[in-house]
């Protein structure tokens, strides 16, 4: 069953068709939520809420990029979560290491083919990048994640956020500039290919 047929069946209330769509897009949606929130439990909650909201508002989908339509819903859910966390700051339950960072066990990020040293370097790089992403303003962060992490083009990103393409260009440039300045503080962690000449 192709995607359009699944969408039409789901719009008629077919729950099985909708769950097929969920399985196709849940990695994308969860990844977006995690990169925006920076926390796996909150990201999971936002992902679940996004899919529930998507089912209730399926009739508002009028065609176009279904991926962009889904990412818009999860982006709004992440904004709600960020506002909620701003009102009520949460304390991490995971233990902290000697550096004060959370000891995460992202088993889903482990590549069995990697060497331990490579795995460690990659993990540290990803932690640094995520740290810099967390320091970006929400709208800058959303834009750079959509384009650079999720691989959307400018048009799809504009649809997902609901802003003009010119705004996408401007926010993306400023977000990358800030990321450059932030990542220069982790220079020793950067692989040689990424270190400035």
């Amino acid at each position: 069953m192709d995607e359009i047929a699944l969408i039409q069946a789901a719009q008629r209330g077919d729950l099985d068709s909708f769950n097929h769509l969920v399985l196709n897009y849940q990695d994308l949606v969860y990844s977006q939520a995690y990169r925006m929130i920076g926390e796996d439990d909150s990201a999971a909650d936002a992902t679940q809420n996004a899919f529930i909201s998507a089912f209730h508002h399926l009739r508002s989908y009028r065609g176009g990029s279904f991926r962009a339509w889904l990412l818009r819903i999860v982006t709004n859910a992440c904004y709600d979560e960020l506002r909620r966390r701003k009102r009520r700051p949460t304390v991490p339950l995971e233990p902290l290491d000697d550096a004060g960072e959370e000891v995460e066990s992202p088993r889903w990020m482990v590549d069995p083919a990697e060497q331990p040293e490579e795995r460690l370097e990659r993990a540290e790089l990803q932690r640094a990048i995520q740290h810099c992403l967390d320091n970006l303003p929400a709208d800058f962060r959303t834009t750079v994640v959509l384009v650079d992490v999720q691989g959307l083009d400018y048009y799809e990103a504009a649809q997902a956020i609901g802003t003009p393409i010119g705004t996408i260009k401007s926010r993306l440039a400023r977000a990358r500039l800030r990321m450059r300045d932030c990542l220069q503080g982790f220079m020793e962690l950067l692989p040689a290919v990424f270190r400035p000449e």
Partner: protein
């Protein structure tokens, strides 16, 4: 130098990295990067940053996020929020409609007056006569006109010799500027006696109103002709004269002297076609309290035009007041409902968001 590169340049570099520049803009940027080392360095830095960000792996969902009928069930409390919001909006709209309609309906209603032209024609000479006289502020030295209640019964409106005193208008007999004086019995009034009183009486048999003048010398009746019949609100000719002209031995006739008398064609301003039926009763206390003072323009007072205003307040005024109370109660109820529903909707949404 980094500070030489503008935000616009960074935007162009970023778009260039994503292959989002037009052909012309791309050519211009490439030409600039060849001659501007700072621009070229910025291009390098931004490119590496973009690569680092893109190196982040796409995460896999830790579990399946498929939905079931139970997870899709909307909590009942969440259904209240839109309903409460709609209730608040409807109440606010109704309140606004009632308030605006009340503003339009609350314009002061114009009481149906007697024809203004006739009223003006009737009272204008009176007002002019009063106003033309030099205004005399009421001071303790000036005897203000007053209504006297004499305890002398009035027996009959016929010519008798009873020294009757009735309720009427007591005017200062001494010629006082600004006050009309009686034209009769002035010369024969003795010191210490009360001033003669005058009241307006219309016998029921004759349509023509008559004047009954009561003085110390008895009751003298004067009858006016129909053409010169003064009506309510109109000064009888006797009041219009400032100097006494009639002698006590003569039958007083309404003979205007110095002051202009109302023209025969001028008719009193009475909304009713029937002549007024004001009769003197037996005792002064029973005589209806005619507002002669106000009607005769004493002092600086303005005669009250007779017409519908003399009538008692009709029942419509009571109904209007009741309607206004009902509208006020409705407005208060709608305002409270709008505020309560709006606050409840906000609280429900806040709790649902938590």
């Amino acid at each position: 130098m980094k500070n030489q590169i503008s935000a616009r340049d960074y935007e162009m570099i970023s778009a260039y990295l994503d292959n989002q520049l037009g052909a012309q803009e791309r050519a211009i940027l490439e030409a600039r990067m060849k001659v501007e080392p700072e621009l070229s360095q910025a291009f390098q830095d931004l490119g590496k940053t973009r690569l680092m960000i893109r190196s982040l792996p796409r995460l896999r969902a830790p579990r399946n996020f498929t939905v079931s009928a139970k997870t899709l069930e909307v909590r009942p409390i969440m259904r209240l929020a839109p309903m409460l919001g709609l209730t608040s909006a409807i109440a606010s709209i109704l309140l606004a409609m009632i308030v605006f309609s009340n503003l339009f309906l609350s314009t002061p209603q114009q009481v149906a007056m007697a024809p203004a032209g006739q009223a003006a024609a009737t009272t204008a000479p009176l007002i002019e006569a009063v106003q033309s006289a030099p205004s005399v502020p009421l001071t303790p030295t000036v005897e203000a006109p007053e209504v006297l209640f004499q305890a002398q019964p009035f027996e009959s409106p016929t010519a008798t010799t009873n020294p009757a005193l009735g309720i009427g208008l007591a005017l200062p007999m001494t010629p006082t500027p600004g006050y009309p004086t009686l034209a009769v019995n002035d010369q024969t009034r003795e010191a210490g006696t009360s001033p003669p009183t005058l009241f307006y009486e219309q016998p029921s048999q004759t349509p023509t109103p008559s004047f009954v003048i009561l003085g110390n010398e008895g009751i003298q009746t004067a009858t006016t002709t129909g053409e010169n019949t003064p009506g309510i609100g109109q000064i009888p000719p006797y009041f219009q004269s400032e100097t006494p002209t009639a002698t006590p031995t003569e039958t007083p006739t309404p003979t205007p002297t110095a002051t202009p008398s109302p023209t025969p064609t001028s008719t009193p301003t009475i909304t009713s076609t029937q002549p007024p039926t004001i009769t003197a009763k037996l005792s002064p206390s029973e005589v209806p309290g005619m507002d002669i003072t106000a009607g005769q323009g004493m002092g600086n007072e303005t005669p009250t035009p007779y017409g519908a205003t003399v009538q008692e307040q009709p029942e419509g005024g009571t109904n209007l007041a009741f309607l206004r109370y009902v509208l006020l109660a409705t407005e208060i109820t709608l305002a409270l409902l709008a505020i309560a529903a709006g606050l409840a909707a906000i609280i429900v949404r806040i709790k649902a968001g938590r």
